[in-house]
Symmetry: C3
Subunit: 315 residues, 3 copies
Amino acid sequence: MTSLLAVEDLGATGIREVLRLADSFVEVSERAIPRVPALRGRTVATVFFEDSTRTRLSFETAAKRLSADTMTFSVSTSSVNKGESLRDTVETVAAMGIDAMIVRHRSAGVPWQVSRWIDASIINAGDGWHEHPTQALLDCYTVRQALGRDDPFPGLRVAIVGDIKHSRVARSNVAAFSALGARVTLVAPPTLMPPSLEGWPVEVSHDLDAVLADTDVVYLLRIQAERMNEALFPSLREYSARYGMTRERAGRLCSSALIMHPGPMNRGVEIAAEVSSLPNSLITRQVTNGVAVRMAVLFRLLGAPEASEALVAHA
Amino acid sequence: MTSLLAVEDLGATGIREVLRLADSFVEVSERAIPRVPALRGRTVATVFFEDSTRTRLSFETAAKRLSADTMTFSVSTSSVNKGESLRDTVETVAAMGIDAMIVRHRSAGVPWQVSRWIDASIINAGDGWHEHPTQALLDCYTVRQALGRDDPFPGLRVAIVGDIKHSRVARSNVAAFSALGARVTLVAPPTLMPPSLEGWPVEVSHDLDAVLADTDVVYLLRIQAERMNEALFPSLREYSARYGMTRERAGRLCSSALIMHPGPMNRGVEIAAEVSSLPNSLITRQVTNGVAVRMAVLFRLLGAPEASEALVAHA
Amino acid sequence: MTSLLAVEDLGATGIREVLRLADSFVEVSERAIPRVPALRGRTVATVFFEDSTRTRLSFETAAKRLSADTMTFSVSTSSVNKGESLRDTVETVAAMGIDAMIVRHRSAGVPWQVSRWIDASIINAGDGWHEHPTQALLDCYTVRQALGRDDPFPGLRVAIVGDIKHSRVARSNVAAFSALGARVTLVAPPTLMPPSLEGWPVEVSHDLDAVLADTDVVYLLRIQAERMNEALFPSLREYSARYGMTRERAGRLCSSALIMHPGPMNRGVEIAAEVSSLPNSLITRQVTNGVAVRMAVLFRLLGAPEASEALVAHA
């Protein structure tokens, strides 16, 4: 593997390897000096054509903890918005001497294009509504950690709730959870479902209340306020009434059920503020694990085969 | 002490400790390799909801010279402007694993809110018109250094001149200088004074010329041009005529008097260009000392008790 | 030499020294850990009053590979746009303790002003239409590398094609190539030529096709779309037809001719997409060499005389 463009690049075996590798890096992250020399001398560039400070910082923190150098190329979509400019930008960054490029773009497929233009390893950090594979990996890791078993996934009932249609997080999580054997149910009003779900290994529901009692993991997606302008749902209030994880609904989950959200949250819309801080809410844990899981992905792509000892050596 | 939100968190004793600690870091800053390993493995995040590249760089330089890692989260007030989003942002940054967060926000009190949400040490880098404690500390340090005495403050006559009403620098400096025993006089037109000064340990004057001869330190505040639109004074020219530190006024100060300004200066408005480069102007020195004083604050908050030797060890 | 403001600061001897020094840093850049300790403890600040992420990253990568610390001060021209504010900004950055400042500004002459205000070494990274000396140095280096001879310049025929009038790259390259003995021809429509070429050591042509066969290096400048609004040429299409490096024109170059462009390219305007990836196109190589050449410049300005061994020591 030289790039991570989509969850299916990894397959179930690859996902499991990343999760196990991440265990080591969670341990590293808890040290007084959370740094290993594994990628010393490597350069990791973040090239984000769409703003996301939090995702960028997570990757850059991961790279630094592996002792890699980082290079940040932030571009507003306005200044680099034509195909040729995109190519020019990534070729220029690559020519300065990098080993991996983390790419985010509002158009699906851009990371694949980039991987054809340059030699560095490419990590897709979100392309349009398409994929966001490291988010799915950190979500799987967080479930596995919370449940305390090496392979809790077979038969696990995961409900992904909200704006499935516009969500790369949903697509990557469907791929990852179902590859590991979980049973995924998508829950949304018809207007927020993709036009066709043919081939998706999922069940579908339009009624969150009907699903709650039979769910082990409730994964809430962010509602973007601008969708309301597209009349995909009547109001934030009505959305919240039917699909929001209110305190009352949280109370009807089985006691071991887990609550997740990729952030940033709209507290009071898809999730009540008080639900986000319940003991079974993993939202902060997802962010923390994000760094370790991205360390695992970077190490897997860039670490020398003989580097497995370096992995946990002290920096 | 785990956070520095306001000058009064330190008290006179704490301020004096920071000033003495800063002496060590001034020495470090003058080395060929101005770096000590004191905070190796720690991560310091700057989270600025209001732009200030110079303050951010001062903190980040301080953190790097202590061998800490830095994380920069820059946000325009437009993108993260609601209470919940603020909380989401700081919780996310904290969850990635940080030890201190430097916060600037245009609303007073935000650093206190943040300190209730997250576990890291919080440093207030300016909240609205309220406080900017490290600015006051570096100002006190610079006066002490210029006067060459360990405690020059008792009875020292400090005049703070300009837009007191909208100035967090004024509020923090009043607190710090008066805690150390200085006598502070505020000089401004009535429209630029706070509506009430009850409880402030200060004297008040509307006439700069009457104050000049009896002042040891003249501290000039920045006039923000947008205040003119609020009709708080008739014109920049008229402001300058009555409250600007012109060459003529500088000549009427006693020969040992010091001139200070927190920057950025409006040369020709609150201070004449030629005055800013007089030998008794400390403006550049304030910036230089800012790094050492912030090293002292970071070390005091994050340094292990047993780290006092590490303090001056070579990196 | 303490600053690099213009190519003529170096003269032919200085240019040759930089090119030879860059050979060492090209070697360093190809190592598994591309880093030397030569500038450990030094701080290099980039202060760009005009956006250019790629140039800034090239300088910062160069500084990091020399083990220097970097400080980034990005300013939109709107926020710091008056002479006094410019001075305040650079004096503030300098006062934090830096050794070199890389300055870009849309007005010619600003780096000279800055060098009078502060003590650090100044590198001009582009001032208006005036100079961009490190671009010229990396271009000369790339030609020398491609031709595989230590001094291929005497008599070398270099054609610089495009918007000469508004190009600092053209001015610096004219100075550098002609100082080394090359014969430079400027090729452009009259509207894109400077009003006077008196004293320029160049020949002039308005006909690219007449020049092609007698050229060893074709250097294409970027056409900025906003020039069209100034009616300096009728349309991008017409410009391309008369001055663009099309595949057909590339075929009429002599077989050893080299094609260069400072980036970012407008593929399809001044250069056809397919031409940019021909084997004799050096565009990617220019970017790669840019890092090594800037390492050479930084080392020459900041390296201790006794540091020549440190130059290639492993970090």
